[in-house]
Amino acid sequence: MTPTSVLIVDDNVELAENLGEVLADEGYPCEIEATGSGAIRRIEQKEYGLIITDLRMHGTDGLAVAAAARRRTPPTPVVMITAFACDPQLEAARAVGVADVFTKPVDTSVLVALVKQRISHGDG
């Protein structure tokens, strides 16, 4: 049984909420988390179908979130979003196993398509 819920981590809460609303419309239950440390707590307690996280956040950043996702068995797939196209941390993101990295601006429709690809629809 594949989990379909999505965890959206972004310190810009309005952005996260919008994305959550869009994905909920598509049939993916979403949780919003504004901090990296909060996200890690959730990841440790629950299995998500996908985690979408901003790279740069105050305090605990997206890399730490991705590392927590990887510690799970099986690892939870992570989509990382950054405003910095040549962020040196992008390398680090790939090193912790993040397959999908997007540079802002990211079209909502592109994200939706990606989520559909990453989470095969089925039971919830």
């Binding site: 952005l15 919008n18 609303e21 869009v22 405003a83 196209a85 802002k104 601006p105």
Partner: protein, 393 residues
């Protein structure tokens, strides 16, 4: 800097007595000035590096010979006061603006010094004491002349530094604003996405489309700002020259009366950052269009062609007024512009992109009139980077 001359005079021990000795030399030296001047320019013309700064041919050399005779006369005549300093500094600045490398100044003064010594030892051969005193005064004067010349070069480099700092500041502000705008634009975009599902009527949807288009436009502006701030590493891929030219020309509005020809030679392999290379063409063509602004007709030619076995060239030529000769050596520096509009970032970005590709940019005035800018780029920037970057001129 009013304290500069008194300071240097005090250091050298140059006083009114030296001025008097030099003035007394003037009647004896005058007859030799044309020869010294002749020799001075013969030495310059014999040296390819120095010769390159003389762009006005025979006629300019003749004029320069006469100005140099005046220079020699006024140097001996004095008075060696603040007004003298200011006139000399102005002459120094003239050399800075034509881009004459500073080291030629040192050697040129040396050539002149030797000729003076030769003449003085001849005209004062009978009076060794007077000769020694004259030599001393002369060396002090030439040390002052050289100090003033080098001072103008230093002031110039300080100005460049300040301009550079200003640009870095502008870049940092631009990058900061750019990043800060990304998030609100993202919220607007996703809100429009959500609204579009609710709104049924055509009119409402039309407006949502408009908002969406404008958000994309803002995002493109932010991208361009970040590009300028140089905060993005180039992404080297194989670039189709024709496609790149087509895409670039699609972003430049060409006014009536201006004809733009584009031509990409077959077989040019371009490896580079497609967006940055496109920006180079856009900036160069925009520059040419602005240069042609007050003309009824103008012609711009954009070419991409092989340059040598390892490089290809992007050239943009126009039949406008060309670059101002004084600005020519500095057109690629940020914030250097002859136009009232624009802040002088266009060509700076061109050079910036060339260098990020391990290439170089050159600006020239064409013999038949108009300007031509050549951007030389390695066919394989990554391999070039391993060997070390080329320099821009």
């Amino acid at each position: 800097m009013p304290t500069f001359l008194p300071d240097i005079k005090a250091y050298l021990g140059f006083d009114d007595h030296d001025s008097a000795v030099l003035a007394s030399l003037l009647p004896m030296m005058t007859a030799h000035f044309p020869d010294i001047s002749e020799h001075f320019y013969a030495r310059i013309l014999a040296h390819p590096g120095a010769h390159a700064s003389i762009t006005g041919g025979e006629e300019q050399v003749e004029r320069l010979k006469r100005t140099l005779v005046e220079w020699m006369e006024s140097g001996l005549r004095g008075p060696h006061d603040q007004a003298f300093y200011e006139r000399r500094a102005r002459i120094g600045r003239r050399h800075v603006t034509i881009g004459l490398p500073q080291h030629y100044m040192v050697t040129a003064i040396g050539v002149m010094r030797q000729d003076y010594e030769r003449v003085i030892s001849k005209v004062l051969a009978q009076d060794p004491v007077a000769q020694a005193r004259a030599m001393q005064a002369l060396h002090r004067l030439f040390d002052i002349e050289l100090a003033i010349m080098l001072q103008t070069y230093r002031i110039d480099s300080e100005e460049r530094l300040r301009r550079g700092e200003r640009l870095v500041t502008i870049g940092m502000i631009a990058a900061g604003i750019g990043h800060d705008l990304r998030n609100p634009l993202g919220v607007i975009e996703s809100s429009v996405f959500l609204l579009r599902r609710q709104v049924e009527d055509d009119r409402g949807r039309r407006h949502l489309d408009k908002i969406n288009n404008q958000v994309h436009r803002c995002n493109r502006i932010v991208t361009a700002l970040l590009e300028l701030a140089g905060s993005r590493a180039p992404n080297f891929v194989e670039v189709d020259a024709n496609e790149m030219l087509r895409s670039a020309m699609g972003s430049v509005p060409v006014p009536d009366g201006v004809r733009v020809d584009t031509d990409a030679a077959k077989g040019v392999v371009m490896r580079g950052d497609a967006t940055l290379l496109e920006q180079v063409v856009i900036n160069l063509v925009t520059n040419s269009i602005e240069a042609l602004q007050n003309r009824a007709h103008g012609h711009i030619s954009v070419r991409i062609h092989p340059y040598d076995s390892e490089r290809y060239a992007i050239t943009v030529a126009d039949d406008g007024p060309g670059f101002e000769p004084e600005l020519l050596p500095r057109v690629f520096e940020p914030l250097v512009t002859s136009r009232a509009s624009g802040i002088g970032l266009g060509l700076a970005l061109v050079r910036n992109v060339a260098e990020r590709h391990c290439g170089a940019a050159q600006a020239q005035n064409r013999p038949e009139g108009g300007a031509i800018v050549t951007v030389l780029l390695p066919s394989d920037p990554a391999a070039q980077a391993a060997r070390g970057p080329a320099t821009s001129s």
